[in-house]
Structures are given as structure tokens and as C-alpha cells.
Symmetry: C2
Subunit: 324 residues, 2 copies
């Protein structure tokens, strides 16, 4: 079925949300029907973030299924709430769709978004649709701050440990494999690029055990995002490259490319791993098989990378959409 | 200057917002820098709405200045908050920009948005940027409900009067003039399409004097939007075509096209006039030169148009993005 009516499509999207078995939370009224969603804000702080995903910039139809496209777009937004220690609650989805795209394709994008929402307790509460030359997915997400308050980027202090969840690096390798048409060689790497998880399952542990002083999610790349923390906190950092852990398949991939796993680990964006600082004298831990690794320390100034006790300077940057 | 860095562009946008002389409201922290804006929600109900504007669907670069494009996109969002009797407060702006567009052009879009925000007391609190094939502007707006609570679409009751602000109709005429290249013939009509006002100046009066039972803004077209109210309220309506008032220039334009001014008034979308129902026995009023006109009545069922006491049936619909 081709999309020939905006209102019909909106009706189908509403049905899909209901069919998914999502119960409307009690603190929202008028979702998806009036001009605005109405949220009863019996919480001290609301966290709001917005992200836009555009076809051929953030995703390609020939690389990802519509389910994966929708899931990743929503996951990135949920991760933004987690990165400030918030509880994700409501999402608002605007979508632009080319006229020649099938309704089922659009609903599969929503299925992917709903899958990510389901895992995080998020309710799609409003949105807009339009025709468009390329697929555009713009999501605004609303979260509640925890009792501890939001965790900002600017709270890192010299002496704080720098911690990272998971094993970043694979997403960039997966992207390179997709670009070169070799996606089947290392399926776990491409899967990681197309289906990155967010750390909804770790956030309670991080907040309660580490009491993070600053936090960010790795969306631009570890070095870029740590740079954001250092800049906001007016500090420096030392990263110990020997502490970085990556997926085993990335090591095999690196033998082929001749670059180091650390290169990928530091530069890889769209990972949605959490990077945080903490003054608790904690070392590495594991939770549900996911490592939380102490990879370095916040310093007064300077941005240094160490390997085997020696300082190595690097100049790696995250992906910048407008870079030539 | 061409856009070659997303972060540089974000920095320029932040500066533009500061240069505009906007003071950061006390109930928001971490705007434009962290992953989320943090809003202190000392209000009972938050209203959130989102709208997407896409080049060549909602606007054309050859018709409108970047200032007009930005202003109209923001005005439509502000209007969504007004249509539920809310107080617009914060906006989150995601923008997709083709690589060959000049930075000054993008900042002019923001100037237009800031101009609309300034008139309504709205603060741009966050956003995202991306490259894109066409210009995409996705805005999510956050408002506070008034003490009276939000006014929904579903509150209309049989016997309520139907009221409309301003003189809708010109926007559609302006669009037709732009499409046919005759935009200079009736400049006030094209101006109305490119620069529609929203009714921030009337909303206090409407809420206090009329206590609206249902309200909506005219974005799809008067008949479509009244249809949304009737459907949600499970009622019908009678519109008295003789009561519809339009801009004088629209009458001259209609002599040329052979269609009636009522045709334009009922079908014209993107007007951002408010349409509301009220059981207060009030007749027409004027405020700052803007009429509030009683154009009909909510009934138990049926959708009727009357002219000179006679019933005329019509089947006019608002603009639908996916219609063939």
C-alpha cells in the first residue's frame, strides 16, 4: 500500500503503537490526538533532548532494515537521557517519508522505534508526518531526572577516574565494512553499527555505585566526547590505551586494516556506551557480561594518551557531519 | 562562509541566540550544551508538540527568505501551544542543511525563529544539526498549561458557539499566487502565506472572556480543523457562510479566479488563526484590530454549511501531504 493520506498514515501509526501492547502511562493525557501531548509533571526536573536522523547521512536503506533504522534512531535518543542519569519517559517522533515508500516500510520503522521504547519504558506520545525526498526521523525525548539530580558534563574534577561501559570501537569498523561492501566478513561488527545497544540496564548500577561526577554517551567518538567533558569541566585527562578493551572480532579486523584497535576505540561514534567520571576508588566491574572499565584519570589540564607507561600524543576526532 | 564543521555551526547558533538578547529563563539549566536541556517543572501540566517543515513540501527557497522560513516554522509550533491555551516556553530545534548552503543563510533561518520566539516569550533550549539534501526544520515546543488547564479538541458541546480569530483564507490564495508566479499582484496575500501571524496577543482574552470548551489552530484548513473538533467531541456543526470575513484583497483575487471567498476561507491551511467553541452567549468582538467572529454553532450531528438561511452542502478538505 502506498502512502496517499497523511491522516490515514497517522491512524495506522497510532494503531501500531496500541497493537504493540504499550499501555498509556497515567501521567500523560491527549497523546497523539490533540495539538500537544499533555504531561503531568509531578517531577522536579524534566530532561529534554532532540536528535535528527537523515537518510544517506545517518543511515542507508541498502544497508539497514527499516526496523534497524527506527530502532537505532530511538536508541540514540534514549541514550541521551541515560547520559544525564535520567529516566526516559516520552518520545515525540516527526518523520519525513518519500512518496514512493510503502506504508509497511514506514510501520517497520515504527516497530523498530517501539522495540527500543519497550526496552526502556518509553511511550511515543506525539509526532508529525510529512512527505520528503529522503527519509527524515526527528525524535524529541523527555525524561525525568532521578533523585540525585541530572549528571552534567561539567562536573569532572582532577583525580576522578574515567570509566567507560562496554567495548567501543566496533561501530566504526562496521561502518567501514558497510562502505566497502564487506559487511559479511565480520558480521558482529556491522551488527554493532546497525544495532547499537544503549545502557538502560547499567544506569541504576552506575548511579548507585559510582555516583558519577560527569557523564556523556559516546555518540561522536570516545575522544571527542571525553573532550566535551574536559572542556565543560575545565580539566584535562590521561587515557591509558592498554586499558581499552574491544570486541575480539575487531582485533581480527585490525590485522586486515593495519590500524590499531585503540584507533577504532577512540574514534568510533554512534556507540551509545556511557563514559563517566567518578571520584569513588573503584576499579573495573562487570554487570550482565558488560564491562565497566576504568580507562584513565581526569587531570588539571592537557589531553594525554599513554601506552605502556609512555605518553603518546594523538589527534583523533569524532565524525563531523559538515567536515570536507 | 560554507558550513564545514557541525561544532562550529553549533557555536555560531549559540552565539546568535545570545546576541539576540534573549535572557536564559531561570527554570532551565544546561541549555544547548549537555545531551539534554534540564527544565525545572514547577508547573502542573507540560504541553509538548512537534512539527516538521521540509523544503519543497512546506516551503520553497525561491519563494521565501530564510528569515521567513524560520519564522513560519516556529510560528506554527507556538500556535500549537496556544491552541491548547498553553503558555509557550521552550523550543528544541533540529535542522538539516544541504552542504552548499551558506552559514549566513542558516543563521538567518535562526533569526526568523528567534523573532517568532521573542514575540511569544519562547527560549530555544536545545537542538541538533545535520547535513541533508534539502532543508529540514524539526521543532519540538514545550509549554505550560494555564491554571484553567489545557483546552482540548474534544470539549465542544451542542449549542456552543463556534468562533474564529482573524480573517482566514489569504494563505491559500497567497500559495496559489506563488505557484503561478503572480506573487506581486496581491502582495498582502502572498505575505500572509509566507508570514502568517499566530495569536499570542489574543490568547489571554480568549481564555478569560470566552472560556473555550474546545480549541484548535487552523493549520490544515478551517473545515478540516473544525472536523477534528467535531470528531473528537462527537458532535456536528453548522457554519454560516455569511459570517465568514476575509481580507479585502482576497475579494479582488476571487473576482479573478471565479471562486468564492468562502471557498478560500474554509480550505486555507497554515493560517494559525484560532478556532474555538464556547457556551458563553458572546457575539463578535475586536481586539487590536483583529476580529473574533462567531461563525456558527456546534450541533448534535451533521456537518452543514448555511448561506442566506439555506443549507449548502460542501466537501472541502485541508491540505494532505500524501494526497495524489
Amino acid at each position: 500500500m502506498k502512502i496517499n493520506s497523511e491522516w490515514k498514515l497517522l491512524g495506522l501509526i497510532r494503531e501500531r503503537i496500541k497493537d504493540f501492547g504499550v499501555l498509556q502511562p497515567p501521567d500523560i493525557t491527549a497523546p497523539l490526538t490533540d495539538d500537544c501531548a499533555v504531561i503531568n509533571t509531578c517531577i522536579a526536573n524534566a530532561l529534554i533532548s532532540t536528535d535528527i536522523s537523515i537518510e544517506n547521512v545517518h543511515f542507508r536503506r541498502e544497508w539497514a532494515t527499516p526496523f534497524e533504522i527506527g530502532k537505532k534512531a530511538m536508541t540514540g535518543n534514549i541514550s541521551d537521557i541515560l547520559s544525564m542519569a535520567g529516566i526516559p519517559r516520552f518520545a515525540f517522533v516527526s518523520i519525513g517519508i518519500p512518496r514512493n515508500i510503502d506504508t509497511e516500510y514506514v510501520l517497520s520503522i515504527y516497530d523498530g522505534m517501539l522495540d527500543a521504547c519497550d526496552a526502556a519504558g518509553v511511550y511515543i506520545s506525539g509526532g508529525d508526518t510529512s512527505s520528503s525526498e529522503n527519509i527524515v526521523i526527528s525524535i524529541t525525548i523527555y525524561g525525568a531526572a532521578r533523585g540525585c539530580g541530572p549528571v552534567y558534563r561539567n562536573g569532572a574534577k582532577p583525580g576522578d577516574g574515567i570509566f567507560v561501559t562496554g567495548r567501543p570501537g566496533s561501530s566504526l569498523a562496521g561502518l567501514e565494512l558497510l562502505k566497502s561492501g564487506d559487511q559479511d566478513k565480520y558480521p558482529s561488527l556491522t551488527r554493532r553499527h546497525l544495532n547499537p545497544p544503549c545502557r538502560i540496564g547499567l544506569i541504576d548500577l552506575i548511579v548507585n555505585k559510582y555516583a558519577p561526577s560527569a557523564m556523556i554517551d559516546i555518540s561522536d567518538g570516545m575522544l571527542s566526547d571525553l573532550g566535551h567533558v574536559a572542556e565543560a569541566s575545565k580539566t584535562g585527562y590521561i587515557i591509558e590505551l592498554d586499558k581499552l578493551t574491544v570486541e575480539p572480532e575487531l582485533l581480527f579486523f585490525c590485522e586486515m586494516t593495519g590500524r590499531t584497535a585503540a584507533d577504532y576505540c577512540l574514534a568510533s561514534g554512534e556507540e551509545y556506551e556511557l563514559l563517566f567520571t567518578s571520584n569513588h576508588a573503584l576499579d573495573d566491574s562487570f554487570f550482565d557480561g558488560i564491562p565497566i572499565t576504568r580507562i584513565g584519570e581526569i587531570t588539571r589540564n592537557g589531553r594525554l594518551l599513554k601506552r605502556g607507561g609512555l605518553i603518546v600524543e594523538k589527534d583523533l576526532h569524532g565524525f563531523d557531519h559538515f567536515k570536507d
